[in-house]
Symmetry: C2
Subunit: 448 residues, 2 copies
């Protein structure tokens, strides 16, 4: 009987996160204080972030950062996650490629987001913080953060992008069941929200706007910090547990990936799976392709510009060196709500600039077609975000077939889609479209 | 670091199902042909069920029934499932009890139902069946059967109890994503459905009615068989993979359960977890309590009558010896849709009659309170059905605390509640009530 799942035990949960910056020959450019244009220091971040997280954010020297015992203890709720050989998908594609996926969908909230939510709540709690704010796109991060906040006794307010708030009511309910306050963004509860609603009363929200609102509330609330589920270096750091486990599991499978693929929103699941493999490329010169799969409607890595930009709509954040579509970019209402963000994190942006990784952009209908084939052949209905990784995987597997050559593909199944069924309803009803970002919209946004 | 999850490898997936009937001193009484009142023979079942399943249904002699390789191969999509020590829940209850749960919620459709859906589809396919029909309450069985049907290339029609069809649209979408036809029951597509809609135009359905419709369609469709997700002996048989794995995992934990608990609808997850442990009681005289947790609104084991009754509303099925509330019983619209069934399976009914197991009935609000505490402490939002097992577990843990004595409790987390968030919304809004079945309603139903 062929092994389908490569399973680790709890003692195999990594004891340290991997900080790729320490291994990068060209470090990411520093974040800048938007007023002074000076490189940001950790203390500049303290008003907004827990100190430990601010220090992790700017740490360019320590390759390994120890995972606290309390965090590993909560990771045990669902980690290690399985590495799965997708025999069913391979058969359906009749491909010589070997397809593996890391199944992060088995987490209690259905996605990889808990990997960073738990340490962020832990460090806030440890430093005496009582309240936190955050934003969420599809609701995956908000759901994860709600559980983590509750596990460490923190009060949490979540600004949820309005289009997702309406499309994904179950995610809102999950957050509320864990005791979080959930506010549809843009809202009237912040200056940033009120301004946008005044200018555009029917605006359905974006991550950029929700970040502005969450940051504003954090700055005005006593003993309150802001937490973020993607984009930042310390989030990527926490997510490396994914790739560190996958590294061991690929060894168990007796293979090494030719290509590592993950969907791309701000970079959290992408960084998590790929950085431990990129380490072999950076430090051992190993050959390996790494591919970020982004939506054709929000293609910052494939069509954005590398420049300093704000992380949020209102311009509250530091200036970040990144591939961006412009911080006022208003993304289309595609169903992969977690991928509707205007920029890529600083580390990923530098890696892309240096040619150490690739990106592809994929139209919505191709992603749902891939999702359905995956559901039929592997039994798991993927999140619309993860479907981008599946679509990119299928492209690779078809290429391998055309070439008549084996290829080992590893992708991240960042989450399941059981709470995204509205999207599947619309797909099955033929109501979804392919929106590809027009050049003129892109240029207008970049020059805004 | 304390072990939280006891994990097996794929080679530990059981190779045979456990047939408890072979070990029972008093066998269940035979099912009867309703016309002749003669004990049913396998051939009487052939028009409705695949032959292999009909034979399993009536097998009273073979203790172990081999699991086909193709079935084990699909079990590998998610099995073995973890056994988890609920340290968080123990801490919150400040109890000396040790609480373990078998986590069946990690299956791709979120519940234990795949354990029987896959072999049922396999045997149908093997015997050349092309079409199948079934019914579903909460939608857990329908979702599982939809994937299984699709994996073996079978056409599937699912009658979904109307109240769940409306309360749980995501489950309907899941079935449709896997290619199934889904019909709200009662429907106008069958004689049984039309009769009920004529008599009670606003009737919101019951499993009994949905079974009538699915059976009727199966009997009128060429090359079509009917499949059922609970109640029947062969379903309980397939589900024993749960308990067989748990048996090994409790050994890994170095403990043996004083009490084994599962929620109870028709008996599928209950039988699955408990039968392999009851084996120790039946064959080795081991001391062990086994408790079925049912809703106070549908209390067949605690308050029903042991008698021959039909499995469906319309009286299409054989007569089954069982604890029943009457086959025309109209259950209240509680949120644990999978527990709204009038009768218990024949094996469980005999075990209960012989004092080999217990049952408790639990009001709805207690189950949601238990669910919320479990979510807060273990991070998993349970299905409303599984919440009954959690509530019964909490009662046991509190008793242990009052006695000041240790107690090892094992319960089945049959599914997660991520697709049942409407129920949690209503609970959090204070809109749910405790409906306890009144004696006069029970008596009227039993004497109907």
């Amino acid at each position: 009987m062929k092994t389908k799942k490569f399973l680790l035990q709890e003692q195999d949960i990594p004891t340290a996160w991997y900080n790729i910056v320490a291994d990068m020959a060209t470090k990411p450019q520093p974040m800048l204080n938007p007023g002074t244009k000076e490189p940001l220091k950790a203390e500049d971040l303290y008003p907004l972030f827990a100190r430990s997280l601010a220090e992790q954010e700017l740490n360019t020297t320590d390759t390994w950062i120890e995972i606290p015992e309390e965090v590993r203890d909560l990771y045990k709720n669902w980690r290690p996650t399985p590495l799965v050989r997708a025999y069913g998908l391979e058969r359906a594609l009749d491909t010589p490629a070997h397809i593996y996926f890391k199944n992060e969908s088995v987490s209690p909230v259905g996605s990889h987001k808990l990997n960073s939510a738990i340490p962020q709540a832990y460090f806030c709690r440890k430093e005496g913080v009582t309240n936190i704010t955050t934003e969420t796109g599809a609701g995956q991060w908000g759901a994860a953060m709600s559980y983590a906040a509750q596990a460490f006794g923190l009060e949490l307010a979540v600004y949820m992008v309005k289009v997702s708030y309406n499309q994904k009511p179950y995610r809102r309910s999950i957050m509320q069941t864990f005791g979080a306050q959930v506010i549809a963004s843009p809202s009237m509860s912040t200056k940033a929200g009120r301004k946008i609603l005044t200018d555009h009363p029917t605006y359905q929200g974006s991550l950029g706007t929700a970040i502005s609102e969450a940051v504003e509330l954090a700055m005005q609330t006593p003993n309150c910090k802001y937490v973020l589920g993607s984009m930042l270096n310390h989030v990527a750091l926490h997510q490396t547990v994914i790739g560190l486990e996958a590294e061991k599991q690929m060894e168990m499978a007796g293979e090494y990936p030719d290509v590592v693929i993950a969907c791309f929103g701000g970079g959290s699941n992408f960084s998590g799976l790929s950085f431990p493999f990129l380490r072999h490329k950076l430090t051992e010169g190993r050959t390996l392709r790494v591919v970020a799969a982004e939506p054709a409607s929000c293609p910052k890595l494939t069509r954005g510009r590398f420049q300093y930009d704000f992380g949020d709509e209102a311009g509250h954040t530091p200036l970040i060196p990144m591939y961006t579509l412009g911080h006022t970019f208003a993304p289309a209402h595609i169903h992969a709500g977690g991928l509707r963000y205007h920029g890529a994190g600083a580390i990923v942006s530098q890696l892309k600039k240096d040619g150490l990784m690739d990106a592809v952009d994929i139209p919505q209908l191709e992603t749902f077609g891939a999702a359905r084939l995956f559901a039929e052949t592997e039994g798991i209905i993927p999140a619309p975000e993860s479907a981008h990784a599946i679509a990119a995987t299928i492209r690779e597997a078809k290429e391998a077939k055309e070439e008549g050559k084996a290829r080992t593909i590893l992708f991240n199944l960042s989450g399941h889609g059981l709470i995204d069924m509205t999207a599947y309803d619309q797909y099955l009803a033929g109501d979804l479209t392919n929106y590809v970002l027009p050049d003129e919209v892109l240029n207008a946004s970049l020059n805004a």
